[in-house]
C-alpha cells in the first residue's frame, strides 16, 4: 500500500549570525546551506500494518510523512501510495488518505466539531447515511458525542484530539498518517487514543504510519518500527528484533535475604557488567548466552529472596541507536 524508494529531501536553509549586526549582514550576504532531512529512505507498509517511525527531533520523521501524504515534493526518489505518486495530489489518492498532526489543528477553532464534519462530508463526498453511521461510530468509540456541538476552543486538548481523529477518519481512509497524535495529552487521553487506534486498525485494516516521541505509543501500537538517524533509515524490523540485535545482554536483578556483608563487584564480575551491588540487591548486565548459567550460579552462591530477568528497555536501545554514529544500517 505504501512504497518508498530511495526518498531524499534536502532543504535549503540560510544561516544567520546572532544579533543586529548578523541580521544586517544576512540582508546583504546570505549564507546558505543544504540540510539533508531525508537520505535514501526505502520501505514498504502493507494493509493493516501500523509502522512506527522513530527518531530524535530533526531525524526526518515528519518530512517522510509529509512526502508520503503529498504535502511536499521529494528532492529525489520515488514513492507510491495506493498506486499513486503522492505529490501529484490526484483526488482519487487524496480521498483515500488521512493525515493527523498532533501539533496542528485542521478544524475551525470557533466552530463546533459537528459543523466542521459537515464541511468534510462535502469535501470527501461522503454519502449521507454513511456519514451518519461513521460519525455515530467514531464519536461513540471516542466517547465525545456530548461534545460534538460545543465550540472547539472550549474543549480540552484531549477532546480536541479526538475530534481531529474523527475528522481524519470520517471518509474511511485506507492509509492513515499519524504524526505525534498523543503529544501533550495526559496519560488517560493518551491511553484512550492508543486503544482507539488499535481498535480502528482491527476493524478497518488501513495501513498506518505513526511517528511519536512516546515509546509507549510505539510499543503499544507498532509491531514494526523504522528508526531514523539524521535522515537515514538505520533499522527496519520488529521491536523484538531491535532488542535481539542491539541488546546483547539481559538485566538480572536479585534481591538478597540475610546476606552477611555486602557483595563485592569483583566477585560478580565474571557474570557480566555490574550495575549495582550492596547487601540487599544485585543488578547485572549479563550476556544473552550466559543468562541461565549466571542465574543458577547466583542462586547457588547467595541467599536470594527474588530473582528477575528482564530485557533491556526498548526505549533505551532506540535512544542508543539514535545517538550512535555510523554503527548501524537498515538490513
Amino acid at each position: 500500500m505504501i512504497e518508498a524508494d530511495r526518498l531524499c529531501k534536502t532543504f535549503l536553509v540560510h544561516r544567520k549570525r546572532p544579533g543586529l549586526w548578523g541580521s544586517i549582514r544576512s540582508l546583504v550576504r546570505r549564507e546558505r546551506m543544504e540540510k539533508r532531512a531525508v537520505r535514501d529512505v526505502s520501505f514498504r507498509v502493507e494493509e493493516g500494518e501500523i509502522v512506527g517511525l522513530v527518531g530524535a527531533n530533526g531525524a526526518g520523521k515528519t518530512t517522510i510523512v509529509k512526502m508520503l501524504a503529498g504535502v511536499i515534493h521529494p528532492t529525489s526518489g520515488e514513492a507510491r501510495v495506493l498506486g499513486f505518486r503522492p505529490w501529484e495530489r490526484d483526488n482519487r489518492f487524496r480521498r483515500q488518505i488521512a493525515l493527523i498532526m498532533g501539533q496542528k489543528a485542521q478544524l475551525w477553532w470557533d466552530l463546533p466539531a459537528a459543523d466542521c464534519f459537515l464541511l468534510l462530508k462535502e469535501i470527501f463526498r461522503i454519502p449521507e447515511d454513511l456519514y451518519r453511521e461513521r460519525l455515530d461510530y467514531l464519536s461513540g468509540v471516542l466517547d465525545v458525542r456530548e461534545e460534538l456541538h460545543i465550540q472547539l476552543r472550549r474543549l480540552s486538548l484531549g477532546e480536541r484530539m479526538k475530534m481531529e481523529l474523527i475528522a481524519a477518519l470520517l471518509h474511511g481512509p485506507r492509509v492513515v498518517y499519524l504524526d505525534e497524535p498523543t503529544i501533550g495529552l495526559d496519560l488517560t487521553s493518551q491511553r484512550a487514543i492508543r486503544d482507539f487506534i488499535l481498535g480502528y486498525r482491527e476493524e478497518h485494516r488501513p495501513a498506518m504510519i505513526l511517528t511519536s516521541h512516546y515509546m509507549e505509543d510505539i510499543e503499544r501500537l507498532c509491531r514494526r518500527i523504522l528508526i531514523l538517524r539524521e535522515g537515514e533509515l538505520v533499522f527496519d524490523g520488529s521491536l523484538a528484533q531491535v532488542v535481539e540485535r542491539y541488546a546483547d545482554h539481559k538485566i538480572v536483578t536479585a534481591h538478597l535475604r540475610g546476606q552477611n556483608g555486602p557483595v563485592t563487584a569483583g566477585e560478580l564480575a565474571p557474570f557480566g557488567h555490574v550495575d549495582h551491588c550492596d547487601a540487599s540487591m544485585i543488578r547485572l548486565r549479563v550476556p544473552r548466552g550466559r543468562v541461565a548459567e549466571a542465574a543458577a550460579e547466583l542462586l547457588r552462591r547467595y541467599p536470594i529472596a527474588d530473582l528477575a530477568i528482564e530485557e533491556v528497555e526498548v526505549g533505551a536501545i532506540i535512544e542508543r541507536i539514535q545517538r550512535a554514529k555510523g554503527a548501524t544500517r537498515a538490513p
Binding site: G70, R94, R95, L99, L119
Partner: protein
C-alpha cells in the same frame, strides 16, 4: 461546479456564525468605511472646484467611477481580503498542509474559505452609494449599459483578487510577503483614480503589466463611451492572462512548498 458552490455555502454559513460573536467589529468596520467614502468623495470634490475635466472625466463621471471603486473594494474586502491576509501566514507556518491532502482545490479554499461577514454591511453600503451615483448622473445611461457596468465591475473584482494573489504567491519562496503586500496596496491605490489621469509609460503599465488601471476605469469608460467593446475586450484579455499567470505561479509555488518543521 455545484459541489464548489455547496462548499462555498458552508464557508458562508461558518463565517456568519463566527462573525456574530464579534458584534463591535461590525460597527467599527462600518464607521471606518463610511469615513473612507467621505474622504474619497471630498478629494475629487476639492479637485473639481478648480477644473471641469480631469483626464477627460467630468465630476459626475468620477462620482459613478468612485461608486464602482467602492463596490469593487467592498467585494474584495468581503470575499477575499481575510483569506489574502492569512495566506502568507499559512505558507510560512506550514498550515497549508491540511488543505493539500483534501480532494478539493487548495487554491479555491485558500482564496474564499473566510468570508468577512462583518464587512457584508459595508458591501451593502457600497452598492447603495453606487446606485446613488448612477441615479444622480445628469444624462440617461440606460439599463443595458448599467447592467454591463455592474457585470464588468464583478470581473474587475476578480482581476483585483488575482493581482493580489500574484503578489502573495511569492511567499512560497520568500516565506513572507509583507514587502510585496505593501507594494500591492500602494499600486492598488491607482485603481481608485481614473486611469485617464495617468500618462505615458505609467498608463501603459497600469493597463497591461500591472493592470490596476483596468479594474474600474475600463467598466466606467465603457459605460460613458457607449457601444465600443474595446475596453471590455481588453479587460477580459488582461483578466484571463492574469488568471493563467496566477494558476501557473500557484502550481510552481506548491512544488516549492516546504511546509514547516513540527
Amino acid at each position: 461546479m455545484i459541489r464548489y458552490l455547496r462548499l462555498y455555502g458552508y464557508f458562508l454559513r461558518f463565517s456568519f456564525s463566527r462573525a456574530m460573536e464579534f458584534r463591535l467589529d461590525f460597527f467599527f468596520r462600518i464607521v471606518m468605511d463610511a469615513v473612507w467614502y467621505v474622504v474619497q468623495f471630498s478629494f475629487f470634490w476639492v479637485l473639481y472646484r478648480h477644473t471641469a475635466l480631469l483626464g477627460g472625466w467630468t465630476f459626475d463621471q468620477v462620482m459613478v467611477f468612485m461608486g464602482g471603486v467602492f463596490v469593487v473594494d467592498a467585494l474584495h474586502m468581503t470575499v477575499f481580503s481575510n483569506n489574502m491576509w492569512w495566506f502568507p501566514i499559512y505558507v510560512n507556518k506550514g498550515d497549508l498542509d491540511y488543505h493539500l491532502v483534501r480532494p478539493v482545490s487548495p487554491l479555491f479554499v485558500m482564496s474564499v474559505r473566510d468570508f468577512a461577514a462583518n464587512s457584508f454591511v459595508n458591501l451593502l453600503m457600497a452598492v447603495a452609494v453606487l446606485t446613488w451615483t448612477l441615479a444622480r448622473y445628469p444624462a440617461p445611461l440606460g439599463a443595458g449599459p448599467v447592467a454591463v457596468y455592474v457585470v464588468s465591475l464583478l470581473v474587475g473584482t476578480f482581476l483585483y483578487y488575482v493581482l493580489h494573489m500574484l503578489f502573495l504567491i511569492p511567499a512560497f519562496w520568500m516565506h513572507t510577503s509583507h514587502g510585496l503586500r505593501e507594494i500591492y496596496f500602494v499600486l492598488g491605490e491607482t485603481m481608485t483614480r481614473p486611469v485617464g489621469i495617468f500618462t505615458g509609460w505609467v498608463r501603459s503599465v497600469l493597463v497591461s503589466i500591472l493592470p490596476f488601471g483596468v479594474i474600474v476605469s475600463f467598466p466606467a469608460k465603457s459605460l460613458f463611451e457607449g457601444a465600443s467593446p474595446g475596453p471590455l475586450l481588453h479587460m477580459a484579455a488582461v483578466t484571463a492572462a492574469a488568471f493563467l499567470a496566477m494558476v501557473g505561479m500557484w502550481r510552481w509555488g506548491l512544488r516549492s512548498y516546504v511546509s514547516a518543521s513540527s
